[in-house]
Amino acid sequence: MSTTTAPASRPRGPGALRSGIRRNLTAYGFLCGALICFAFFSWYPMVQEVLLSFQRTNFVDEPTWVGWANFRTVAEDAAFADAWLNTIAFTGLALVFGYVVPFVAAIVLNELRHAKAYLRFVVYLPVMLPPAVAVLLFKWFYDPGAGLFNQILDLAHLPALSWLDSTDTALISLVIVSTWMNLGTGTLIYLAALQSIPGELYEAAELDGAGLFKRVWHVTIPQTKLILLVMLLLQIVATMQVFIEPYLLTGGGPENATLTVAYLMYQYAFNFGDFGGGGALGLMLMVVLMVFSAFYLRLSRDNQS
């Protein structure tokens, strides 16, 4: 953003003021559509989110200020701790798979000389599915009876799993869907990053006697460090908002094993009719995520300049 204003280039003199006003009016004329949309659907809700969490709202009377009461209600809910722990567990697991696997896949793809276009195409296929379709598809695969996954386990003479129906496996089942859906994006981004690494670095490392893994460790990773960091933050922010998987697959069950903060927030608002409680949860999530978002924006801006 090197748009330094150059006052000298603007005309000075008697007509300057009028033309300046005209230019600004034109500019704001062009801006007004976007400004209205942003004001109503981004900026106002940001403010409203804070107000909502400190108010009791029943949509009949004027909202009343209740201080921290909403936060207390939510925190005393037995489901509160479950929701946070599940969200953290989900994010952690999704990182282990969704972060490491695409990076490794990208490194391998980058070395291959054949079928590259095919592999790139294929890895991005699930990303193009509407998420609801992908999730419902996996719901069918997870079916404990004739579902694909248990059939495969059966073919391999392994015991069937109850996937979504057991507290042990439900969360990991959600992570699997989520990873499958999103893996392609990361892979392609890493692939683009890997292609910009100068080959001489590998050559030099090799001359110094660095083996394959050493080269990855001392060349590939340092060279892609910024992108790795940015993607890490992006992924944390994205996965902590997980909603559609528990909504469509498990409804938060069994025994809250897949209840996430975003889903609990939805429940508070639309099942219990408590928008204040939902707002409080949303605000907590916002505070946590903004820390990561702020780092992310910072880093991606550094990266750009």
Binding site: T3, N24, T26, A27, Y28, G29, L31, G33, A34, L35, C37, F40, F41, S42, W43, Y44, M46, Q48, E49, L52, V108, L109, E111, R113, A115, Y118, V123, Y124, M128, L129, P130, P131, A132, L136, L137, W140, L148, Q151, D154, L155, W180, L188, A192, G199, A210, G211, L212, I227, L234, A238, Q241, I244, G278, G282, M286, L289, M290, A294, N303, Q304
Partner: protein
């Protein structure tokens, strides 16, 4: 693809025994075949290693494994979906499952179309995505143009405020955004169950404004100044000069905005609860449980066709958007 024609028939030219290091990094798991190509850029594994018989063996093994695994993981589920729809409910419940459906009767797709009213849902989704696309282009392009070329007072602050919305993950302002749509402040309009509930919020996209503005910044000033001297108005300059040269970025923004709306689930779930107004994703999700399994799967197939077609048609722009979107641009 085209530039790797030299590879397998090249063993004879690779005889010079490798110097010192190779013995230690024999573990290298993949290899590159087109070593002979001088312009080829060097990556992790040296071309040299690859040209040894052993390197080539490892390369082809790894290649085969990767192709098989990727196909199994990413294509097979889709194959299973398309053929699963063609199976009868009895076949679906059968253990072990048949790899091919016993008969190819595409009637189930027609049935899904009828029973789930997919035509209506698809039309709805097209209307939402199309309107969102038009509004996004209209609002975000003109905003970016104003910020980039007209440079109004407080322009930087406005841009900063727009970019700040990128820091707010959509899920955390879900409830207040829903309440806003339910009763628009000041105006008091109820936008629930109207396309505006999708269109207007979709147009408030800080990322698109940012992408467009950066592209417009790169258009040389002289071009615009020349037009200005000829007496062209700001609108005219935007339409006749800026837009024609911005086709690549407009393509990227268009595809991203359409795909965003098409794939969204939570927002349409909340703001379009009426069964007649639902998008295809929400419609299928809400009706799926009541349908026979093969009909439900057929509807999933139908729902994924449009996004797949978009992907096939615009693969290049989507990839461009992806990398622009992430970090480098």
């Amino acid at each position: 693809m085209p530039k790797v024609t030299v590879r397998p028939d090249r063993p004879a030219t690779a005889p010079p025994p490798e110097p010192a290091p190779p013995k230690t990094r024999r573990r290298s798991r993949r290899a590159r075949a087109s070593a002979a190509e001088p312009r080829e850029f060097r990556s992790l594994v040296s071309p040299h290693t690859l040209n040894t018989p052993r390197g080539r063996l490892i390369y082809w093994t790894v290649l085969t494994c990767v192709v098989v695994v990727f196909t199994a993981v990413f294509v097979f589920p889709l194959y299973w979906m398309v053929t699963g729809a063609l199976k009868t409910p009895e076949e679906l419940a059968q253990i072990p499952p048949g790899f091919f459906p016993s008969s190819l009767d595409f009637g189930v797709y027609a049935e899904a179309w009828e029973q789930l009213d997919l035509g209506l849902f698809l039309t709805n989704t097209v209307v939402y995505a199309g309107g969102a696309w038009l509004l996004t282009l209209a609002f975000d392009v003109s905003a970016a143009y104003a910020l980039s070329k007209l440079r109004p007072v407080l322009g930087k602050a406005v841009l900063g405020m727009m970019l700040s919305t990128l820091m707010i993950p959509p899920m955390v302002i879900l409830l207040p955004a829903y309440l806003t749509v339910k009763e628009l402040p000041i105006l008091g309009w109820d936008l629930l169950n109207t396309p505006w509930a999708i269109w207007l919020p979709a147009a408030a996209n800080g990322f698109f404004v940012f992408l467009l503005k950066r592209f417009f910044d790169s258009i040389p000033r002289e071009l615009l100044e020349a037009a200005q001297i000829d007496g062209a108005s700001a609108g005219r300059i935007l339409w006749s000069i800026v837009l024609p040269v911005s086709r690549p970025i407009l393509g990227v923004v268009s595809i991203l905005s359409v795909v965003n709306v098409w794939k969204d689930f939570v927002w349409p779930l909340l703001v379009l609860p009426d069964g007649e107004k639902m998008t295809i994703s929400v419609g299928i999700a809400s009706l799926a449980a009541r349908m026979p399994q093969n009909v439900m799967i057929a509807s999933l197939v139908i729902a994924s066709i449009p996004t797949m077609v978009v992907f096939l048609l615009f693969q290049r722009s989507i990839m461009a958007g992806l990398t622009a979107g992430s970090l480098k641009g």
